[in-house]
Symmetry: C2
Subunit: 673 residues, 2 copies
């Protein structure tokens, strides 16, 4: 049943040797890596506008300059990562850069930050995508959580199937998205220039500033609000690091192609964001968290109206509400957000598998599933993102407060690592050209470090109480757990290693064997035969008796059997078999530490599951209990009901227990080697 | 955790030799066995009144005569069972009588009927008890299902604890109940005689007959209704057979004392029922199923009022509403109903254990729990009764339609068995006195058989469509399942029995051993040593490799180890270890049917449960999968993390694997016997 459902959903298993990389041209690589970075344009401007709206209409007009600041940081980060791409073409990303240059503890910190941020990428992108979907299909309004969780489930299944042929599937919607946004921007700018640009659906409303910001963007409060808007806008920078992890899949020259793609990506993202902010201003777009208190029409509250995201409102202003192009822009934007979440579904399992390989995460995360994807990592990401979406009601504005912290921790430490890298390079003798190139690169990374550290500070200060503390807590938790896992694995590895082969080749000096029987039926006799065939130093039958009639019965059977073995009766006045046997075995083990103890248990197998209900299941209970005693070897001798169904007098062909009065010949060990 | 909760609820385990019987005097035996029979007085009159009410006020006046008919049957049944008590003093009850005289199939039918009826006794009594509780405590109204299920749970726990000292606990409330009902009857009769008896709360209302019975008790319809009332009233007969099961616990002369108690019980029950019917009529008690349609006050419907049971209404009329004696009668009646349910908690597990001993029910029902009670039977009864209570909304009127069928099947067959018993006795030569006594006894049983068979017919005809079909279906189901279980056990017993000890003492001719390893770590080396110590005919290492790097690793370790054993590599292109190993073992077993196959699996044990999450659990998965293959012996060699934590160079004292270049000495079998 389960297997069948799994086959339908996931597909047939794939052979390990089917793994391998398909190399990507720049034309295909751009969309594959771009969806994360470009999709943030779908919510970053909204968050800038929404934060500034708290200080009223005049403040909202500053959105363009916040966008310029974000673009400046984006430019710095892109330039810095072009260095990384050249210096570390292996695709290890920030984790490798930091581990190599600053040591494993800092590397682990970066990894923790990135793991948390991947989860947030899925939560934010999918929640935003669900919001776009409800913009295009209004009757879905109010079901954002269900939609978002469903989208995560769909992504999970698709990724478990594997996304080898996903290149083209990514390329088309990403190009359609870029083209449709470009079309919207060009048409919008032309209409702006000719004065024919329509008004956004929210253009008619006036903004009511919050009481604390009634004066607009003035004083400390104003500066803080501006910085918060900037922090939220920095969500546009996430996804830039994706290319530095992806260098190996580029065509040759890998590093140069990756660096070019990175530059292209940065330029497009910045251009898109700025254009959208300009159009939003020109068409009078308002975005607020709480329409009922923040928006007024002719001095009266407008109530709790539904607000479309900025791109949706601009599309309505440029193309007209209900037009085909409006739907195209909205739907494609929603789609690109889901694809952005998908990049996390690539990034998280890959990073987790590297960390698992380095013994920081459970080993299962390094195992490839039926379809060669890291299934356990995919499932872990899906569950974590699902929990976040439900906990935050799929509200992008609340989730975005947790976002960006992780990625900027990673950016900052990565830049610091790169500075160390160049410093080390500069210490080795080299030609003048190489030296001046290294000096130039180091300068770029120093600027990058200062910029990202500054942004990280701003983000932490402005978002801490709004939710960033949760991110820091999660990062700390992930970090500590990974440390603990590593120390467990290290301890285990040391203990498992065989230092002295000759000592470990040694055989036990004495073997004591017990056969647990409840009666001398055929299964018990087979267990006895198995035990005798193993030639232990001593062998006894052990039977638990609960009353004198049981004792009588087993004693009679033992005498009738003619077995040349002693019989030990263990009395169980409280009728509990498992506990008494476990105690007897533990005592024996303790009093004879120098002997190897082997316990033989006859196991009675039935042909149908329901027949199990008709037998006591003592063997199963003993299995659960005895398997936990260190140093006691446990042997199960199965006997299946019906296997002796043969004509009277004819020996069963496949019965290995044909008469033999002696134990079988001793082992002939392969001495020819 | 679970063990601790169990200790608090159930108490400490008791030794098997603590089992034993406490013999009861008549004074104590009467209340112990009486609660079931006497408690039916709490609902049987209600059901008679309720059924007759369908034909209007005049019909309801016939209730006394229905009561007389029920009492007559009761007298016949009591007289018949006095024969049984003398003839079968071993306490086997109807199951023994019928099995002995009519054969095991009829015995099994009786047992099925009784099992179903025990479940119904609990459901009916507890539901009725809950109804009395809500009469005394009106704010509990509407929560009858919850109350009833809670009462079943309490009874379950008490019975799991064991009811050895329950004699006194039963005697006091039963006597209080009998005395309080007697007091109510005496006071009521005096008030009746002096014309000072008050009116019942429902005396003011008029009964509206159903459309089909508008003419009263006339024609076929009227006769049918009268018979239905009689059938429902026969619920008063349940519990009579309890004494015939309980003969062994009476003081000597056992049979005579039991017979006297039976007579006493019958008289008291009949007297109580008739008195209550007289008082109900005198005080104008009305009992209907649906007050809104069946009751009118001055021609107008009274709506959906709450109705008290008849005893409650009479107590109000006799002692006055809110008086202490009213509360005493109501609460004690409720209590006695719960005690009646408790007799089923004694009867069901005892009968189930007898059936289990005869291989008709799973063996677990014959095992005594921690407190020497048949815990599995108690739990089975509780679950079944709970399901019935929930399914029928704890409504006594609906449950009573299912009731009585089982007990009358048992009565009828038991009487038939007794007739056979006397026939057989009469065939043997004996003195004239003995012969005439036997003839007399047979006459009693013939009358008993005819009466109970007639009642059974009436019950089946009148109740079939109202619910008795469910009982018949359940009885048939229980019967068939028991037959199937018996045939499984019979087949198993034949197969397990060893006919030829010398053949079964034989040893396997060849033993092939495999050691499953993933690397040659310490756990693997211990498994290898264990396997070598058992001197198999052939021994190989088997390792699953998923790719060439794994193959390289295991080959290098094998060469380093210097083990004189061949290494078999099984490739798993789909990365699935368990499936590949299972297939390999199955193939090996199939191609070498004459060899015994032993598979050694190193088992890696961790100290804390959460550490399990950090390891693959391959051994556990292999255990689940390999243990199902017939004919393959499975050996687990445990190795606990940390067991090698010793100072460098010092050998662990309790390590049985001290250097030995040879296998251990061969078994010294105990030939002295």
């Amino acid at each position: 049943m389960f297997t069948h459902a799994k086959r339908v959903l996931i597909g047939r298993p794939m052979r390990s040797d089917a793994a391998g990389h398909q190399l990507l041209s720049k034309r295909v690589a751009l969309p594959v890596f771009a969806s994360d970075a470009l999709s943030s344009v779908a919510y970053a401007p909204d968050e800038i506008l929404l934060t500034l709206a708290l200080a009223g209409s005049l403040a909202a007009l500053q959105s363009f300059w916040v966008g310029v600041a974000v673009s400046a940081v984006l430019a710095v980060v892109v330039l810095s990562y072009r260095q990384t791409v050249h210096a570390y073409p292996s695709g290890g990303g920030d984790y490798e850069v930091v581990t190599t240059n600053l040591g494993p503890t800092w590397g682990l910190l970066v990894a923790s930050a990135l793991l948390v941020d991947y989860v947030l990428t899925v939560a934010v992108s999918v929640s935003s995508g669900a919001h776009y979907l409800t913009t295009a299909v209004p009757w879905l309004d109010g079901h954002e959580v269900v939609i978002a969780v469903t989208l995560v489930a769909v992504l999970t299944v698709l990724n478990l199937r594997g996304t080898k042929e996903a290149g083209l599937a990514f390329a088309i919607p990403t190009y359609v998205y870029m083209l449709s946004i470009a079309l919207m921007v060009v048409v919008g700018f032309v209409k702006m220039a000719t004065g024919t640009l329509g008004a956004a659906p929210t253009a008619q409303y006036d903004l009511v500033p919050e009481a604390t910001h009634a004066e607009g963007l003035v004083g400390l409060g104003g500066a803080f609000l501006l910085m918060r808007a900037f922090s939220s806008g920095c969500a546009a920078l996430t996804g830039v690091e994706a290319i530095s992890n992806g260098v190996p899949v580029f065509r040759r020259p890998k590093s140069r192609n990756a660096a070019t793609t990175l530059g292209l990506l940065g330029s497009i993202a910045a251009a898109m964001m700025l254009s959208i902010l300009v159009l939003a201003r020109a068409s009078g777009v308002k975005v607020v968290e709480n329409p009922a208190t923040q928006l007024v029409l002719n001095g009266k509250s407008v109530g709790d109206i539904d607000m479309d995201p900025a791109i949706g409102q601009i599309a309505k202003a440029v193309f007209g509400d209900g037009s085909v192009l409006f739907y195209l822009v909205t739907v494609v934007t929603g789609l690109i957000l889901v694809l952005a979440a998908n990049t996390a579904f690539n990034g998280f399992p890959t990073l987790a598998s590297v960390l698992s390989h380095d013994s920081f995460l459970p080993r299962q995360l390094h195992e490839r599933g039926d379809r060669l994807s890291y299934s356990n990592g995919i499932l872990a990401l899906a569950v974590a993102a699902g929990v976040l979406i439900v906990a935050f009601d799929a509200e992008v504005t609340r989730l975005i407060q947790l976002y960006v912290v992780g990625v900027f921790v990673s950016f900052t430490l990565s830049q610091l690592g790169m500075i160390r890298h160049w410093n080390r390079r500069l210490r080795t003798p080299q030609s003048g050209d190489e030296r001046s190139a290294a000096l130039r690169s180091r300068a770029v990374n120093v600027v990058g470090f200062m910029a990202t550290a500054l942004v990280l500070g701003v983000v932490l200060v402005t978002k801490f109480s709004h939710g960033a503390w949760i991110t820091l807590l999660l990062m700390a938790l992930v970090f500590v757990v990974q440390k603990l896992i590593r120390s467990h694995y290290d301890a285990t590895a040391v203990q498992l290693r065989v230092e002295d082969w000759s000592a470990k080749r040694a055989l036990p000096t004495r073997v004591r064997a017990l056969v647990l029987v409840s009666g001398l039926s055929k299964p018990a006799m087979r267990a006895v035969a198995t035990a005798r065939a193993a030639s232990p130093s001593s062998l006894e039958l052990v039977s638990v008796v609960r009353d004198s009639s049981e004792e009588e019965r087993i004693r009679t059977a033992w005498e009738a059997s003619g077995l040349p073995l002693p019989l030990t009766l263990v009395s169980s006045p409280y009728r509990d078999v498992t506990g008494v046997v476990t105690q007897y075995v533990r005592d024996l083990r303790r009093s004879n530490p120098g002997e190897m103890l082997v316990v033989y248990v006859p196991e009675f197998l039935v042909r149908h599951w329901w027949e199990n209900g008709l037998h006591n299941g003592t063997a199963a209970a003993l299995r659960r209990s005895l398997v936990r005693i260190p140093g006691v070897v446990l042997t199960f001798v199965p006997w299946m009901l019906g296997e002796d169904d043969v004509v009277e007098g004819r020996q069963l062909v496949n019965d290995p227990f044909r008469p033999a009065l002696q134990a079988p010949p001793r082992v002939k060990e392969d001495e020819s080697r």
